[in-house]
Amino acid sequence: MTDETSQLLSDTAEKLFSDHVTKNCIIDAEKGTWPDELWSEVIANGFNLILVPEELDGVGGNWMNAGILFKALGRYQAPIPLAENIVASYILSLAGISQPTDSILTILNGAFVAENDLLSGSSPRTPFASYSTHGVVLYKDGSDLKVGLIEIDKNNLKDNSNIALENRGHIELDKVSFIENSKVDCDSNLVKKLGALMRSNQMAGALESILTQSVRYANERIQFGRPIGKFQAIQQDLAVLSTHVAASSVAADYACSSMDKGNPDFAIAVAKSRIDDAVSVGAGIAHQVHGAIGFTYEHGLHFATRRLWAWRAEYGSGSEWSKVLGEKAISNGADKFWPSITQGDLDI
């Protein structure tokens, strides 16, 4: 995609989400209502197929393009599994499997065994499982790595949710057959890495949202006869928040661009680790600036902050990814430390 089509994608997503992701839409979703209209629009625009090659009837975009959508999802706190569907359809496409029409995909993440092409195992916190028709799984079959597509059977599913009240189902599989499966040549830890990548980008978007909300509120809320944004203490806090927002956005972009360059391990770990720190500082400042009103369900700030607190722990916390980085850095030794940063690669 060219710069122009990226801009178009960004404008389209912006328009679609600002029209459809209303406060009521999010509240209804938290109560368990599937946002049908929003999802139909997203599908009509082909957003879910952004990473699927054109040969497989996809859009043929790259990870920087997907990053635009991930960030927009976070910015609007859209209560739909678009990020998951983008990643799931991408994983399917790696194995040359097309997505069934009208399906809603989820990504299974857990420990699985396959025997005679029957899958067993559990996927404990499966995003939007209860709303999904199909699951995508990356699993080992003997020495082969395979991608499988299964149907989600509600009988194997126990409902649950994260603190942002996003559906996270527990799926238990006992010798379930595949709709389709195929060998694939990719990283066996791909699901976790792509999960970390999509959540990093969503967090970068949600952090932008809490910054813009906080600045707007600081300019509106009057105390001691003037907008609280005129107080230097508030200005300094918001400046700090904005530096973390900027860092998060860069870290998320860096991960997407490294993915496009085919060498993402370092950058994904950096993004999840860096943005985790940004969430800790940033969510705190946003709530402080909002005072008590931001602590209510009525005010919408928490739609972003609860997501941030949930997402930072999904697909490996910042600490877990930091550990990956630290272990490599130490075993590489001090002399390779700087070169590994300039090359964006831990395996040098």
């Binding site: 860092a247 860069v250 550990k323 630290g326 430390f337 700087w338």
Partner: protein, 381 residues
């Protein structure tokens, strides 16, 4: 509200990566005799012999136009030279300021005579500059400065005191901001001069810093006669010019790499001990460092494209200073070793960086001032 900054990722061109290898090669032999204490200081460390060698390679004024004797290469290539020098702990302090801001200022606003007289020495790594902005009563509030330059015939007579002037003891020149007239406008009536520090009436007095080093100075001017030919740009335009100069001063990789040596030394200690406690913290710092680098490179890209990333530079400098200042505390927390000038390498680095780290959020604009600039960018002021 829209977010007022946009850090787009910037890749280094192939030439820059080739240059990186050349610089690494050069440093691997040029630094063998540089003591650890000097390396730990990065751009606070100065070695005139080293600066001349860098000049010989054509790496000072690398991105200046060729008609001024520069190498006419991109800002991205210059960035590579800087980051490689800093992370290797090269003693770049002598030529740093002339290369970063005084030379570019003279190229932009100076007269052909000034350019002919001064630029060649900078490029050779022999002519050094210091920054004459701060005064006893003028720190963050630069517009409160009082040193006067009064026009008399073809000279300006200068009286007053500059303070905290880094490296003045080894510099031939200072770019100084003086008051040339009283104006209603708080930012009016300032002018910039190239001051030859060997002129009669200039006294440079060392100020010893908390670590016992002679880094900065007090520079007193008593009826110093500065020829009018040494006025830079237009009389009265000093404020705008100095603002442009500050953008250069705030935007480079030195704003997050000051404690880099300590991080590298920390990794060395861990590798040798085979001790994996604290490994998560090392990884966290690596994530911060990498992100800062991407942000800083993005600023270099904007400068290269002729944009004005003043706001983005303030963001990087503020985050960078927090990072640089955290490192000594983190190193202390992770290692059970005293900071010690006579200890092992790690202890030496810790000793120096612990002591000099408070300056990271003061020099070049304090944390509070930078955050004020960012808040203005956010539309809060």
């Amino acid at each position: 509200m829209n977010i007022p900054f946009n850090f787009r990722l910037t890749d280094f061109p192939v030439e820059a990566e080739t240059l990186r290898l050349e610089v690494r090669e050069f440093l691997s032999s040029a630094l063998v005799d540089v003591p650890k204490e000097t390396r730990a200081e990065t751009w606070y460390g100065a070695d005139e012999g080293f600066s001349r060698k860098v000049g010989e390679r054509g790496w000072i004024g690398l991105s200046w136009p060729t008609e001024y004797g520069g190498s006419g290469r991109s800002a991205m290539e210059r960035y590579v030279v800087l980051e490689e020098m800093l992370t290797a702990g090269a003693p770049v302090g002598a030529h740093w300021i002339a290369d970063r801001q005084s030379g570019p200022l003279i190229i932009r606003y100076g007269t052909p005579e000034q350019q002919e007289k001064i630029l060649p020495g900078i490029l050779k790594g022999e002519t050094y500059f210091c920054i004459g902005m701060s005064e006893p009563d003028s720190g963050s509030d630069l517009a409160a400065l009082r040193t006067k330059a009064e026009k008399k015939g073809d000279k300006y007579i200068v009286n007053g005191t500059k303070l905290w002037t880094s490296g003045a003891q080894r510099c031939q020149y200072m770019i100084a901001l003086f008051r040339t007239s009283k104006e209603e406008d708080r930012h009016g009536g300032f002018s910039q001069f190239i001051v030859d520090l060997s002129l009669p009436g200039v006294t440079i007095r060392p100020i010893i810093d908390l670590a016992g080093r002679h880094h900065f100075n007090e520079v007193v001017f008593e009826d110093v006669e500065v020829p009018e030919t040494m006025l830079v740009g237009k009389e009265g335009d000093g404020w705008n010019q100095v603002t442009a100069e500050l953008a250069l001063e705030r935007s480079g990789p030195e704003r997050y790499l000051s404690s880099y040596a300590l991080l590298q030394e920390l990794i060395k200690e861990f590798s040798e001990r085979n001790d994996y406690e604290g490994v998560t913290e090392i990884g966290r710092q690596m994530a911060h460092l990498t992100t800062l680098r991407q942000m800083s490179v993005s600023v270099a890209g904007m400068l290269n494209d002729g944009e004005n990333p003043a706001l983005e530079a303030s963001v990087v400098k503020d985050l960078g200073a927090v990072f640089e200042q955290d490192l000594p505390n983190i190193a202390h927390r992770l290692m059970d070793l005293e900071p010690d000038n006579q200890g092992n390498d790690f202890q030496k680095y810790l000793a120096i960086l612990t002591q000099i780290s408070p300056s990271f959020s003061l020099r070049g604009g304090t944390r509070e001032i930078l955050r004020g600039i960012i808040a203005r960018g956010l539309g809060l002021r």
